[in-house]
């Protein structure tokens, strides 16, 4: 599903621990996992599980006590800390735009440190603004205080991507944004990620966001990794009761969201008269298809690609696709 771009890198946690003095329990305990190049890895778990601590050890905002984190095999401790950080995009919930700098200067912060010319910074800032859905002509000279929270986080994302770093760390980036705007930001970010592949570690406490954003999900509890799997695996076969309850009793339904109609073997398209069936685009999720079946009261949908029917799908086809889920759900 995810082809690695040549510019992408792998991040690996190797037995990484963080202990604070005077506290018996490790905040992060022997964490080991790998994020393949170009993938989004979501760290999720209840508050205090160590997910943000794990994230912040990648760019050394928090020092590693034991173990190592490597980027393409190279320890994060091998680089000078400011050097390391300038090469890693960082987006966090509080956004942290510099209120005294124009949008252009905000985006240009790291490029300026790296000695880019004014023209190059301006061109890059304009390019990034349109990439995140803002208007370069009007918005470059404005100040962060003139934008809404959602727009500010778009600028935050643009700033983090300024020098096109191969890695982005995102600490609950959309956590403080209203649900509707959050959905839109998530969609836009996924689209952006398809265009500009980066290896991303994304922290959230929202399982729906995790399933939506993550190629892989790492569930943590008390500083330890409980399960590391793709969204689909996680929903289909939770490793234990903790994971099962964390992903929710409706994980069968959630799984419908992970799958698109493309993942099903479609029945052949009806030769004619298919027009009378409700139709759905092949790129939509099974959840959307099921919803349409329910609202239309139909037994069958025409699946279209670019408006042309390519097959049909039935309720049975959808339920059998998630059938393997049933056995584990009863447990």
């Amino acid at each position: 599903m995810n082809q690695a771009d040549s510019g992408c890198v792998e991040i690996a946690f190797r037995e990484v621990s963080k202990r604070y003095e005077g506290r018996p329990e490790a905040a992060v305990n022997r964490l080991s996992f790998e994020v393949p190049p170009g993938e989004i890895c979501v760290l999720i778990g209840p508050s205090g599980c160590g997910k943000t601590t794990a994230l912040k050890m990648v760019n050394r905002l928090i020092a590693i006590t034991d173990g190592d984190i490597t980027i393409d095999g190279r320890s994060v401790n091998a680089l000078e800390v400011t050097q390391l950080r300038r090469g890693i995009g960082y987006v966090f919930q509080q956004i942290g735009l510099f209120p005294h700098m124009s949008v252009e200067a905000n985006i240009g912060s790291v490029p300026r440190l790296l000695g880019w010319s004014k023209q190059r910074i301006r061109a890059r800032a304009a390019e990034l603004l349109s990439l995140v859905g803002l208007d370069p002509d009007a918005d470059l000279r404005r100040y962060p205080g003139e934008f809404s929270g959602g727009q500010q986080q778009r600028i935050g994302v643009a700033r983090a991507m300024a020098v096109d770093p191969p890695i982005m760390l995102m600490d609950e980036p959309f956590g403080a944004i209203d649900p509707i705007t959050r959905e839109r930001l998530q969609d836009d970010f996924l689209r952006l990620h398809r265009e500009v592949r980066k290896t991303i570690i994304f922290v959230t406490h929202d399982i729906d966001e995790a399933i939506k954003m993550g190629d892989r999900i790492a569930i943590m509890r008390d500083g330890q990794l409980v399960q590391y799997a793709t969204s689909d695996e996680l929903l289909a076969s939770p490793a234990n009761d903790f994971v099962a309850s964390f992903v929710g009793a409706d994980r069968g339904l959630k799984r419908l969201r992970v799958w698109t109609l493309r993942d099903l073997t479609l029945d052949p398209a009806p030769p004619a008269g298919g027009d009378s069936l409700p139709s759905v685009e092949v790129g939509r999720s099974l959840r959307d298809a099921l919803s349409l079946l329910l609202t239309e009261g139909a037994g069958q949908l025409t699946v279209t690609e670019a408006g042309k029917p390519i097959g049909t799908v039935t309720l049975e086809a959808i339920t059998s696709a998630v059938a393997q889920d049933r056995n584990t759900a009863a447990a």
């Binding site: 800390v81 950080r85 966090f92 509080q94 942290g96 510099f98 912060s109 440190l113």
Partner: protein, 244 residues
């Protein structure tokens, strides 16, 4: 000794007869415009310039000291209390007493006046600078750190610009206060607009001290206005905030 200077001359006003005197001057009205205009360049302008110089030096030197102290207190918080106490102590000493004491140490000259004037600016400038540095939003500092700015880059590119509004507010207060206080510095021969004020009081010639007092007030207003303009130019972002 010197204190005798400010007692108005006994036995009625001594009217100076600078050549041909107008009725206004002879009758010692509250304010004689024509005399003021005739004498502005010779009697007031040099004093006004001295006054500006005294004030600028006092605020400038005060800012350098207060700024260094605030930077130190920003990183070494133990330093805040002793410096605050010292600055507050200076601030509360009655000005005339302070001048009188300092004269015994450094003599009757401008240095003495400046030492006292600088001391008075420290409290406001130190407090405002430190408040400004501390009010820098935490998220901006976090972003700076995560983006790989060094400590020094964070200070010069993020903390100081963001601390500017309170710092400028401090400079405005300090400037206006110092302009007013500098008139008293004439008491120890430092010059400035205090000279014609003391002189006018001594001779009882009203126009002289009214004019000098007016000039001091006008100077304070103009200085404050200029500083507001400077502040707006330096912090264009401060007023451009989205209204909810």
């Amino acid at each position: 000794m010197i204190s005798g200077l400010i007692t108005p001359a006994a036995g009625g006003p001594v009217i100076p007869t600078f050549g041909k005197s107008s009725t206004c001057v002879v009758q010692n009205h509250q304010f004689c415009m024509s005399w003021f205009l005739d004498n502005f360049s010779s009697r007031f302008q040099p004093r006004l310039l001295e006054h500006i110089e005294l004030t600028a030096i006092a605020v400038g030197v005060g800012m350098v000291i207060a700024f260094a102290a605030a930077l130190l207190a920003h990183t070494q918080s133990w330093f805040e209390t002793p410096f605050s106490l010292l600055a507050a102590f200076f601030y509360t000493i009655p000005a005339l007493a302070f001048f009188e004491v300092m004269v015994q140490v450094t003599g009757i000259n401008r240095l003495t006046a400046e030492i006292a004037l600088v001391s008075y600016t420290l409290l406001i400038l130190f407090r405002n600078t430190l408040t400004g540095l501390r009010a820098v939003p935490d998220d901006a500092l976090q972003a700076a750190e995560a983006m790989g700015l060094t400590r020094r880059q964070t200070l010069t590119r993020v903390e100081l610009p963001l601390a500017l509004p309170p710092i400028m507010a401090g400079i405005r207060i300090a400037t206006v206060t110092t302009i007013s206080l500098t008139t008293v510095a004439a008491y120890i021969g430092a010059g400035g607009l205090g000279e014609p004020i003391f002189d006018g009081i001594q001779t009882g010639f009203k126009t002289e001290f009214v004019a000098a007092g007016f000039l001091a007030v006008a100077l304070a207003l103009v200085a404050d206005g200029l500083l507001v303009i400077v502040q707006r130019l330096l912090t264009p972002w401060a007023r451009r905030v989205r209204r909810a």
